[in-house]
Symmetry: D2
């Protein structure tokens, strides 16, 4: 696997960025690639527990499938997906040995990519062609690394033992897809489960074998319904949903921090009103709360609900809340982290290796870690350093593509080591 190939794959995913639950072209490209390498591939509905799916808007799916097909998704794979995205590839060595699983998340962020010559993806012609979707978090890199690892492992199949499972997860942004994969049971035979994330503040050549502080998080949408009226002639007859939502947004951001650790809240999207001269009868806003522990996460969510309820009352609005995503905290297993760091050192790719990195974000890989850990397996979430041009989720996000090869080397050598592991 040469770096050029990885870059080509990454830039293809980048250009055709697809937001969570809409990764039809991405899944098709991945499935075809893996299938050609000889993996046993399953997609979409075959690898998800539908009742655990979160934050999915069914109404956009048909249009997104149409778009993906125009952009090159293979109708054969589209049909097998049955409306759901994501892929699982299994390589059975036929030899006795552990089951080792790797997970790669593949969805884009809901951001409009910068159209600006100082932004390399735009300058070099591979910026997103899909409005409202941009690989601003590096999952294009994760997917490319996953394919690179898949090729290397396929080539080395004879030297491996046990079973290898590669999971390409949909809808990680908004922590919507991870639980559905965990609940399907496809990880229940895993002895080892590992994922990585690019960037996160570590520069190229650095890495961390595990993380400590994955934040618990809840994602929800709030809908306010008031009453329209003529803003000039009958302002008192309206019930103003926009003002209710504006107050909620401001006060949500003011929830007091918790004595016991990190918390976060964000109102990422707010839409309200219909016409300039109409008292706004509707508002909706998208919220996420986070906490370092379940206690803190629960505190944040309860305070948020109180604010949502009271701001509706203030403007005499009807309100509903729709749960859109949820993830828990998780901790990498110490002995697995130790082994990872050892392998990382052996690769010769890294100048600086640390054990536990405190990332301050959330990832629904936590559901999978928990599932595997509860069954007695070991799991870890690694950080792969990569210089970045702008923060994660920023419209100017871009990363150092040299880290792609480092990721492939690290993960493939790790799988080799683990596949021969004897407990």
């Amino acid at each position: 696997m040469r770096l050029e190939e990885l870059i080509k794959l990454r830039r293809d995913f980048h250009k055709y960025a697809e937001a969570g639950w809409c990764e039809f072209r991405t899944t098709s490209v991945i499935a075809e690639f893996l299938s050609n390498l000889g993996y046993d591939v399953k997609v979409g509905r075959e690898i998800l527990d539908e009742s655990s799916v979160m934050g999915r808007d069914e109404s956009v799916i048909p249009k997104e499938i149409e778009r993906a097909t125009k952009q090159g998704a293979d109708p054969k794979w589209i049909e097998r997906m049955a409306g759901y995205t994501g892929a699982l590839a299994v390589l059975n060595t036929g030899k006795k040995g552990p089951t080792v699983a790797l997970r790669f998340d593949i969805d884009a962020v809901e951001v409009n990519e910068a159209k600006d010559d100082k932004h390399r993806p735009y300058r070099e012609g591979f910026s997103s062609v899909n409005p409202g979707a941009m690989h601003a978090c590096g999952h294009d890199g994760h997917a490319a690394i996953g394919l690179g690892v898949a090729r290397l492992l396929a080539e080395k199949k004879d030297s491996l033992r046990g079973k290898i499972k590669l999971i390409f997860q949909p809808a990680e942004e908004g922590v919507r897809g991870g639980k559905a994969i965990a609940e399907k049971g496809i990880l229940d035979d895993c002895d080892f489960l590992v994922a990585l994330h690019l960037g996160l503040g570590l520069s190229t050549g650095n890495m961390a074998g595990g993380v400590a502080g994955l934040l618990c998080t809840t994602k929800f949408d709030v809908f306010y319904k008031g009453k329209a009226s003529h803003a000039g002639a009958a302002p008192n007859e309206g019930r103003n949903a926009l003002l209710g939502a504006a107050n909620a947004a401001i006060n949500l951001h003011g929830i007091a921090p918790h004595r016991n650790g990190t918390s976060r809240v964000n109102v990422g999207v707010l839409h309200a009103g219909e016409g300039r001269n109409v008292v706004p009868p509707h508002a909706m806003f998208k919220v996420e709360t986070r906490g370092e522990t379940e206690e803190i996460a629960s505190y944040m969510y309860q305070r948020a609900m109180k604010i949502v309820e009271s701001c509706a009352l203030m403007y005499e609005l009807e309100w509903t809340v729709k749960q859109m995503g949820e993830s828990i905290t998780a901790k990498s297993d110490e002995d697995l982290v130790g082994l990872i760091c050892k392998v990382a050192k052996e690769t010769g790719e890294f100048d600086s290796i640390e054990s536990f990195y405190n990332m301050g974000g959330s990832d629904d890989f936590s559901w999978m870690m928990k599932r595997v850990q509860e069954k007695g397996g070991k799991a870890s979430y690694m950080v792969l350093g990569s210089d970045i041009e702008a923060g994660h989720h920023n419209e100017y996000f871009d990363f150092d593509e040299r880290s792609l090869l480092k990721g492939v080397v690290l993960m493939s050598q790790l799988v080799e080591k683990l596949s021969r592991f004897e407990s």
Copy 2:
């Protein structure tokens, strides 16, 4: 003209509701109708001063023309419109006499119509098929009355004198189109100019010959630009445009009233943010300020600008304001009002007739009134009572269709009287 015909016209306009500057089908139907009656008809660009056009989004025009054409707009008229809507129909009696102009506004409000069996337009199948556009202010009725009056006057052409001008104005909502018609000069030869508005709190069988308190108003859009960042991992690196806009909206609604009279402010629409887990980098909101006098309107606008500026500063945002519409105050001429009330009485259609009604709203007909009054003509804005089901601009708005015929009778008899007026 029978009531049934008026109702049919009104319901057709209602079903194919078109927001301001997008009334392509409506204009086409009107132009064809008037042309068939023998009027000399001009449309779109022929009757507007382009430099006075306000609040127009060029980017949506091609799609709207396409939609209108699918919904029955005649390509012949579409071509003549040259991208602009509205119509002027002239009836020249060939006899010496005054020029009498009537104005009818034809655009819909940006509201989603209620889909509810208790709402007659929905129940009887003529509710709007165009999302985001609804005749929630009665302009469908105004247009129908205009066509009814046109037919009656065409039939009575021989008994009339001077010249009759019927103006079907686009984009009254948001006071965006009136000034462009006034500035074109097509009213400069008018001796009399009259418009009417349905409803406004008067019930069927009531009318007012003039209004006193048209509010001055300014319409503007505000754009905030901040900086996106990962809401969990780097919240401090973002600049939150959503919170800036939320603060602005709340404080705009709190501008202190003016000692000297009525003021209004509304933030009718607010859109902010891109994704749930991204610090929102963009926000836009649509505002209108109003005042009973120019002093009050100016006070409101200046306070609004201060709030817009300071809330941008608070979240370190770049900001721009785009003017979208403006109208002035106006007062109906007393002697014309007296004559209107006399005619109204003679029609036998009205139980209660008052001279000056205080409406508490704005209408860009004020630009036309001013233009005519400055040249020595007389102008008035009448109110035609009509029972309504819900307030103007509410999604359940509907009016008593019996008032359509009353409007036709009133206006046609008024034109007859005025056309024979000798000063």
Copy 3:
């Protein structure tokens, strides 16, 4: 009565400004003056219905009496007041004739007077010596005019008929005292009741015989109780009363105006918190809502209560509301206004005289007007023009003292005329 004497009286009241229910020195000075003129004088508890008293803080009364005594209040009058302020002086001519009552309000506003050489009361040494109390509304002038009128009428007693009643009302600011006087029944025999107010936007030499738009108003205090905690070490354990109150204040000022007329709201005072590093456990704020009609006033009050309740809920606070004052609307009787304007003209003191002035404020004289009007008497509230240096209630407020004599002349001639009135 010479102007110099009136000025001296006014400046004395100004210097010893006393807020509502604390006018012990003012009442004492007035009572002594009137008693010396031969009036039959009653004070405090003798002229008030205690159950109708509003907005009184008993805890400050003893200290205020002590202060007033130090500042010259006569212990004899203090004793008769029995803790309540205000005075009633009756002049019985012994001749058959109507009962004519005049009302003068005597309390100061809760404002700290400007200490600035550009402010005449400070420059000339008669600015308030009592912190938190300032005659910023002209009641010092009203009281001085009342004494001037009292002297003139006493001198002309022989030429008068019927009975004269002079009421010096406490606690008009905050509309707290008027109802208690009305309910005592001391006006029930009045044929005529008149009051005046200085300034209000009319300049010296102008006057108005009546007012039309006295606003209904409700005054109330809100108390929020949350929970203190260490703001650094345990922010999540507090319940922040300050933030609840801040949200309430902002949203109260944003209550939508009413289609049917003028409304007002003000949060005039807000106190919250205990120490910088403590989550604020307490907040209190003083509110007033107003409306041109009872419908509007009721709408404003109900919206206010909704906001008060919801902001408490938002920060999980306990809340209580204490009613502090209330007044109703009132309208001057047209025929009495006509007569007043006639007298005003005869005095030769006024360049411009109008009938009904729209003042846009509230006065609890409305309770007395209603009481008299319900019993068949006539009442009016006059405006006495006076140039002012700054708006009413501003710390730089001062008025043109020449208006004092005009007020005395107008009122005394009016009483003369009315006392000889035969219906």
Copy 4:
């Protein structure tokens, strides 16, 4: 030293609670006690660098001295204090050896103590008699421990070496006094410097030898000046300082957290307005910002200033900010912490001993630690576990008095050990 004596001392300090810079009685009691033990005592101005004093309101000092004197402060000590509080007691053993300093803070919090039978200090008659001042943070205990230690050390003088310095610091709340003591240079000869804090989440019998996360903090007061006007008659003529402050408070609490660690902000006090019916012309609010590092603290302060400035602009207010206190971060020296833990274990008083406690608060002892550490000395801030009844700064705060004796034993044995320390 028996526990009963310590309790008696503590309750005396508790009852006569004195806020920062006002500890005249407390200082007098302490100085007299120490002087009687034979210490060389200095007070007030003798131990402070006046130019480093922060957050002191000179205008209240005379009244506070008068109050303290009434409550038992000795005029002799009052005179020596020369207007400033705090004491330094030196015990010179005359033998060669290190200089060991202990610091005890002595001021109360600005909280009104609960008057409630469930609150022991109230029930048992030793709750604060001074409104607005309450020992809600345990400094009464610190002072008592300090006197207990002083007595034990005086008794053991012969077995000690070097020099002992006991510092009783004023105005720790609000971090106002620590820097002034550090800058005076009285610590410049110290080899060891230690302080302790009661409670902080550790229960009785626990202790920690050092802390890691003292937060940097800035304390400041904001003053807004707008313009008063009549809230009913001329609302547009006012400039509303209350609304500016309310917006500032809400948005200050919404400053986004920093990716690199803990931050805090609190608006602890807000006072605005003068009278209910006056547009509020003045507002003041007390703010503190904190951060785990200087970077974070600086970020918080800069964001706060932006909000303060913009909210003034929004309501067209003049604004000033007054710095009231500041402290930096600090870290206990590891080897000193080790030694402390060893001593703690030897005392037999503690069930659980930890090295570094993360307290999440600020203490201006950091200035003294830095001063000593920069000169080559060692410093530590210990935590003395104590069960508490309510959180620090809460009106129901109370602690387990048994911890007083544990504190005395720990500190005196530590001094013994350190005084014989040979490097």
